[in-house]
Amino acid sequence: MLNKLEKFLFFDGAMGTMLQKSGLETGKLPEELNITKPEVIYSIHREYLNAGSDIITSNTFGANRFKLKNSSHTVGEIITAAVKTAKKSTEGLEEKYVALDIGPIGTLLSPLGTLSFEEAYDIFKEQIIAGVNAGADIILIETMTDIYELKSAILAAKENSALPVFATMSFQDNGRTFTGTDVAAFVSVVEGLGVDVLGVNCSLGPKQLQSVVDELLKYSSIPVMVQANAGLPKYRNNNTYYDINPDEYSREISIMAKKGVAILGGCCGTTPEYIKNMIDALRELKPLKITKKHFTTASSSSKTVFIGEEVKIIGERINPTGKKRLKEALREKNLDYVIREAIAQQDSGSDILDINVGLPDIDEKEMMKKVITEVQSVVSLPLQIDSANYDVIEAAVRIYNGKPIINSVNGKKESMEKIFPIAKKYGALVVALTLNEEGIPSTSEKRLEIASDIIETAKEYGIPEENIVVDPLVLTASAEQAAVMETLKAIPLIKSKYNVKIVLGASNVSFGLPNRKLLNTTYLAMALGFGLDAPITDSTNDALMDVIRSYKVLSNQDKDSKEYIKAYSNMVPENTTYNSQSDLKDVIIKGLKEEAKSLSSDMLNRYDSIEIVNEFMIPALDIVGEKYEKQEIFLPQLIRSAETSKIVFETIKEKSLRDIEITDSKKILLATVKGDIHDIGKNIVKLILENYGYKIIDLGKDVDIERIVETALNEKINLVGLSALMTTTVKNMEYTIEALKKEVPQIKIMVGGAVLTPDYASKIGADYYSKDARGAVNIAKEFWGRTLE
């Protein structure tokens, strides 16, 4: 049906609108009608077929485990009945197809909600297997607003059926879905995942959708479909109606068809009349030929980076090689540190972040998944998944939200055989290193040869050129001086033969020589001049950013020097240094975060770290605490002081790693209980407790009971802090306490959260109740019987 697409394909219109017209009660599960009133559903399908629809949609939009929780029918029963009814309605008709309709689950995936990616996958899998067995011809995943949920549905469809997959999302008038995905990100992700048709449905009328359609056609290399609403919903005499008529609908749809949309139908408010009118209006037209687009992109759920248009920076800092603090953080599973590195890179101008967590003594796969999930929940940049292990890469690109970059494939046969199937299946962009079984070649020509080999082999797997970015590999000037220029010469050589973009990790060039900064910046400038598209570099390093910003001005990429002026017109003089002893206390009490770092570095020249903590930090925090209790200062100020103090602490720790180990005996486990996603209060408690030297193991929000118990046992925890904000989740707090007391009898538990009272806390078995973060410190002090002295 899709082979040539020489004529338009027409879907049906709304099911819900037709059910309302038949006088059926709204608000109940319309999917149950497949079993209770199949004749009504049958006749609706027939009406659409008579109107000329080529494809009819089964009445299964919400037929999933979550929405049918309270139904007396199973997902399998409803989908089987629905698809059978739809099939029956096409009997005796030529070239008519049944699409298995799959809508959103109805609850959100983590991190916005609480459903895991795997749970979502299973929910969709159940629907797809039932639909395939009942004889559906197409899988239509529609009205999606979360690209992550859509990805799980597409994977479930592709892995459990061989049917064509059509995927549509709903966009608001700002060009984004409710969860923030724009058209470019949508196209890059779903096209990569191998759907057959993509498009837009619902949410708006056809007129308001024209700009979304333009974007879809601009980026898509596969057929585009549109199912618009019959205008915008209006309300009159207790009835909802849509505000445009069939003629107006057809007029807008004709415009879309002329632009290149090949598959058309209707959504809310449309009826057989609209469909018939639309088909008549398009009778004289033929679909436009689809052209391949050749963008090199990587995306997150909300941001797409186009490589090649202007210099893009791939941040390299999340890589433990040679980084003491990051190694330590990964071993301790201290993801806060990793996330802060990610934020620092985003804020300093990185466009993409490389993620490498390879350490010999950790479970790299688990850590990679965890880091990707956590970083993606806070930072909106696309990620580059960097590992030497193929199974780590596959696990990571599977749960990644967006279109990732894989770092890397190389010219070795084994590497290509392992990486290309993964890249193809998940639609990733791949970094290709110009080395093979014989090592890194010494000439630019040889680099081109290896690049050609990789690019041509990729094509055999169905991976287009634009999904390869080549890294021509830098050698160090101290060891192989003559080879340094060969890397640069390879850049234009490769680009002249293929439509590929170039990335380069360039800081190795200076290895073994003094004043590395000078060599690195000069080399970066040279590489950009040779046509480097995306340096893999450190955006928090001012000298390197100076080169990139100035290059963007001189190469006419930074139009009107806007970025450049923004970065350099308001340069402030270096911070003044502080000398007086009382200043650090003062800085903490006033919460002067910006001054904390330089001041504490400076003080380390005169005091040892323990002195700074005991003589300045703790006394200052006590004063802050008292002021807070007396209501002289309030929550934002308390937190600001705590953040300032944390900066002091981190600075000291950085300068003297061994000097200031916290004793393991004062560990506190914190968690927001299962089902609850309100964790801001817990985060405040954590910060304040850390200030007082307690070591916090933070399990985050929506934490399974088993995980809390397991961690308490493994880490030999004596004090646990639990938070819950909702009456519905306080129940889980009770269950968690019960499980902890059973498995770890000596353990003490403090609880907090808006709906708790001291009485209720003791009723559910908690040992302590705290109304705020300050109270938690007092509890911890009482528990250990003394302060950190």
Binding site: F178, P233, F634, I639
Partner: protein, 230 residues
């Protein structure tokens, strides 16, 4: 069913209200917090996606069950009392969207003091949005010579919060305004509200009071401290 997308400029984010959420009680607000408030309000004006949907139903009352025409039934003494003089009621749902939520999460990691201020402003923002929705509903009620009760949300009094999913389904809120709920009835985006508003034939003036709140006696936000009996 009425769906509205409200222009961000129309919603006033009340600084005093945000400060109250932060516990300030009109006392010495420091400069830095004021700066964070201003920043947060400006950002919210840029990124919020303010939307609400409501529908008006005929209601039936029997043995403290309130039956809405859609099939939704709420068993509640408190709501029955509030709706004593009502034959009609609106169900509404409002949200400020996911972008604000993403921003709060970002600040929770990068700048926690900003996060709490931003969170308080977002809370004030959703309240203001609900006020706009309420005003529209009030105007409809006035045409029918009714006053309206105050907004009564699931989780208040004895109205179970577990009705959230049903309410969203009755309003088609996921499709229309992108609002969903979890298994535990947590609304997502979090800065969202669902509520019942009765059309009061008796034209009684309804005023919300701390005295009939579940948290009365255990809450730091009590309005007018003289009412605060502990």
């Amino acid at each position: 069913m009425s769906v509205r997308h409200i222009d961000n400029g129309l919603v006033k984010i009340d600084k005093t209200e945000a400060l109250r959420y932060l516990g300030y009680k009109n006392k010495n607000v420091d400069e830095e917090t004021v700066r964070l408030l201003d920043e947060s309000i400006t950002e919210l004006q840029e990124i919020s996606e303010l939307k609400y949907v409501f529908k008006i139903f005929n209601i039936k009352k029997e043995n403290n069950n309130i039956g809405f025409e859609s099939g939704l039934t709420i068993k509640s003494d408190d709501l029955s009392e509030l709706f004593k003089h009502c034959d009609k009621a609106a169900i509404m749902a409002a949200t400020i969207g996911f972008e604000a939520e993403k921003r709060i999460r970002y600040y929770s990691v990068s700048n926690l003091s900003k996060a709490v201020v931003f969170d308080a402003c977002a809370a004030s923002c959703i309240e203001s949005l609900c006020d706009i929705a309420e005003a529209e509903i009030k105007a409809i009620a006035a045409k029918e010579n009714c006053n309206i009760t105050y907004r009564y949300s699931p989780g208040y009094g004895d109205v179970p919060i577990s009705h959230q999913i049903e309410i969203l389904s009755v309003l088609n809120a996921q499709k229309l305004i992108g609002l969903t709920a979890s298994d535990y009835s947590i609304l997502m985006p979090k800065k969202s509200v669902t509520a019942f508003i009765g059309f009061d034939k008796g034209n009684k003036i309804h005023k919300k009071s701390c005295l009939n709140c579940n948290l009365f006696g255990n809450c730091g936000f009590v309005e007018g401290e003289k009412n605060h009996v502990k």
